[in-house]
């Protein structure tokens, strides 16, 4: 059973990572900074529990808030640009965060041993869960409570005016601006929310793996963060969840028996999936519970002659 609980933990933290990019994607922006916020959450929460003996729940929330604050501060300058420029600007930020943790050495003595980030060697012994007698199913439950809360909040937000505002900005900025929406406020708000969610995800991640180092939080992780919501579809939070199950459950874990071929299939199946379902596995139409009305399909684009 432990194996399946462990797997659920991986699904949980990756869903949080994906959801953090989902919020930002709703406003039409691709942010490669999510791995950076995830790293900030991981290091902050690890420091809180392993170095200062804090309880896990306040530590997770603290990590989320720290990430959110940094995301907000970065959002103002970064969101002056959009499209490809934003991709690279956020990529630069993410790499900067990673390199800062690469250079960060800050250790304190606890029980006769030094704990804390140790530069390139990483941050070892974030063992809050095993040391405090948490069984693996309890850890999994805790993670999924956070996932459920975040998903519920985003689901609820999607059905209120806030969701409509985000999607309006994502759909057509000029139109959104002309109906009086403050683009900067909307985008920075989404970025802050994304930072908070990524921070929570990162803090839980750090505690499930007990050791973190800068190398984990690179461009590849940032790519996966945006890949989940795009692959799953931006229609609702469940798209991200499905994509995480597809990638982590099927491609990574399910195909393990294929040995060396698994890694080859991994990329190929993503290509196939995007060709077959370009709007994501679940599509980009917002799900409405019990609603049979389908949104009329968007104006067909001018037919290309080819």
């Amino acid at each position: 059973m432990d194996f399946y609980f462990g797997l659920l933990q991986i699904f949980g933290v990756h869903t949080l990572l994906g959801l953090s990019a989902y919020v930002v994607l709703l406003t039409g922006q691709v942010s490669m900074a999510q791995a950076g916020f995830y790293a900030i959450g991981a290091y902050a929460a690890g420091a809180a529990t392993a170095m200062f003996g804090m309880h896990i729940i306040p530590a997770v929330l603290l990590a989320g808030l720290v990430s959110a604050a940094i995301a907000c501060a970065v959002g103002f300058p970064a969101l002056r640009v959009k499209g490809l420029m934003l991709v690279v600007a956020t990529l630069a930020f993410g790499e900067m965060v990673r390199m800062i943790f690469f250079n960060l050495t800050w250790q304190v003595e606890r029980d006769g041993a030094l704990v804390g980030p140790n530069g390139a060697e990483g941050f070892r012994a974030i063992r809050y869960f095993p040391e405090n007698g948490w069984e693996i199913w309890q850890v999994t439950t805790l993670i999924w409570i956070f996932v459920a809360l975040v998903m519920a909040a985003l689901w609820w937000m999607d059905r209120t005016r806030a969701g409509a505002v985000l999607r309006a900005v994502g759909h057509d900025e000029v139109a959104a601006q002309s109906i009086g929406l403050n683009l900067t406020a909307v985008k920075v708000g989404a970025m802050t929310a994304g930072g908070f969610i990524a921070g929570i995800g990162g803090s839980l991640y750090a505690h499930t793996v007990t050791h973190i180092e800068h190398g984990i939080f690179g461009v590849l992780l940032a790519t996966f963060a945006v890949a989940y919501p795009i692959l799953g579809g931006l229609g609702s939070v469940f798209g991200t969840l499905i994509a995480v199950l597809f990638i982590q459950g099927f491609l990574v874990e399910g195909l393990r028996f294929m040995g060396d071929w698994r890694s080859l299939l991994f990329g190929a199946l993503i290509v196939v999936a995007m060709n077959l379902r370009p709007k994501g596995l679940l599509g980009d139409t917002p799900l409405r519970l019990g609603g049979l009305r389908r949104k009329p399909s968007s104006t067909p684009a001018l037919q290309e002659a080819d």
Binding site: P130, T208, I216, L245
Partner: protein, 396 residues
């Protein structure tokens, strides 16, 4: 529905992991590590060494259980792609099978988190970490076995090897005074080996460190770093980096005509990779290694692994040795090998490994240390004419 199909297939694939009980008695030892990706070659070699070792053990009659019956060894290799999350997931999966002990992982950055999720001290009921014996073959970064009492390593002690290497250089090159280091800064193993091992050993044996050149794992330009080296005119240059940047730096050294008397390399570069990358520039580079085909046992093992299309080097040789050591441990521990005795058997193997003070290795007796680490016999190999040849074999 593609989506439904994906889900069904993945659910099916996940349930395959359920333990299969064997009728004829088998003892299962799992191997895991990176078998794909940039470092995949390590896992492929280890996996081949393990299955070759299992075949040898089975051909010699397998292992003896508590009731006097014999059982065959079977082994499966799991790929973790050198990723911490996957490594943890793989070990948890192995723990659900009837495997009694796991041999792995390849990467130090997987080993460190992985050992962290294991129970730190045995019989500590307050610690809910996983209780499963791990006997590491490849991940070499110093001091990791101390993280958990369930972890044992059969990786060579770099501290001891480099200490002796520099002592030997002092002896054979009495006129050499200065040393210059080259470090791949963002790789935990190379970094730790220069700062905590090579540098210390060099200073201890009277070399003066006249400078350090630093670069990153995927750097392609070394001219700045090597220029510093050229000005310092060192007698000895020690490069602690993986083959790709080792070769890059060596090329640049040749270009700038930095010709130290002695060139020292990192343990994990004593593989074919360095030679396939830059045999000409690596000529003369000396590396301590815990494996070379210098005696009959070692040659036999190397041939058996070569027959599987893989190579036996210091890493995969450890995988082979681990299986031989585990055979002796299993024979001595008196395990039952039934589904009900699984947890008890795992514990017996752990205790058996913990009780060892010496173990048989391919190059001679290995010393087992109380913290789960090993001190293995070693030789110094040098690159000459695109192959590694033994330049010095200390008698130990």
């Amino acid at each position: 529905m593609t989506l439904a199909k994906f889900l069904t297939v993945s659910t099916l694939a996940l349930t395959v992991a359920a333990p299969a009980l064997a009728e004829d008695k088998t003892i299962s030892i799992a191997g895991f590590g990176a078998a794909s990706g940039v470092v995949g070659i390590f896992g492929q070699n280890s996996g081949a060494a393990m299955s070759a070792a299992a075949e040898k053990i089975n051909a010699e009659g397998g292992v003896t259980l508590a009731d006097g019956s014999t059982a065959m060894i079977e082994t499966t290799y799991y790929d973790d792609r050198c990723n911490a999350e996957e490594g943890i997931s793989v070990l948890r999966r192995i723990a659900t099978t009837d495997a009694l002990v796991a041999v792995g992982p390849t990467c130090s950055n997987v080993a460190e988190p992985l050992f962290g999720i294991l129970q730190a001290k045995v019989d500590d009921d307050g610690d809910t970490g996983l209780q499963f014996p791990v006997f590491t073959d490849v991940a070499i970064k110093g001091g990791l076995a101390g993280i958990s009492e369930w972890v044992f390593r059969n990786t060579p002690s770099e501290a001891m090897m480099y200490d002796n290497l520099f002592a030997w250089i002092r002896e054979t090159h009495p006129e050499a005074k200065t040393i210059y280091g080259g470090v791949e800064e963002d790789f935990a193993h190379s970094r730790a080996t220069w700062y905590a091992v090579m540098k210390e050993a060099a200073i201890k044996h009277g070399f003066e460190v006249v400078g350090e050149a630093q670069w990153l794992l995927n750097d392609t330009n070394f001219s700045n770093q090597v220029r510093g080296m050229r000005r310092a005119e060192p007698d000895v240059v020690a490069i602690s980096a993986h083959p790709f940047t080792t070769c890059g730096a060596l090329r640049e050294m040749a270009r700038q005509k930095v010709e130290p008397e002695v060139l020292v390399g990192l343990t994990s570069s004593s593989s074919l990779e360095t030679l396939s990358g830059c045999a000409a520039e690596a000529e003369g580079m000396i590396i301590p290694t815990s494996f070379a085909p210098v005696n009959d046992d070692a040659k036999f093992a190397a041939d058996a692994v070569a027959a599987k299309g893989a190579a036996l080097d210091l890493h995969s040789a450890a995988a082979w040795e681990n299986f031989m050591i585990l055979r002796d441990v299993i024979n001595a521990a008196g395990i039952e090998g039934t589904a009900d005795s699984r947890d008890a058997d795992r514990r017996k193997i752990r205790d058996g490994l913990a009780a060892l003070t010496e173990a048989e290795g391919l190059l001679g007796q290995n010393k087992r240390l109380p913290d789960g680490e090993a001190e293995k016999p070693y030789v110094f190999v040098g690159a000459s004419d695109a192959s590694w040849t033994v330049v010095h074999a200390p008698d130990s």
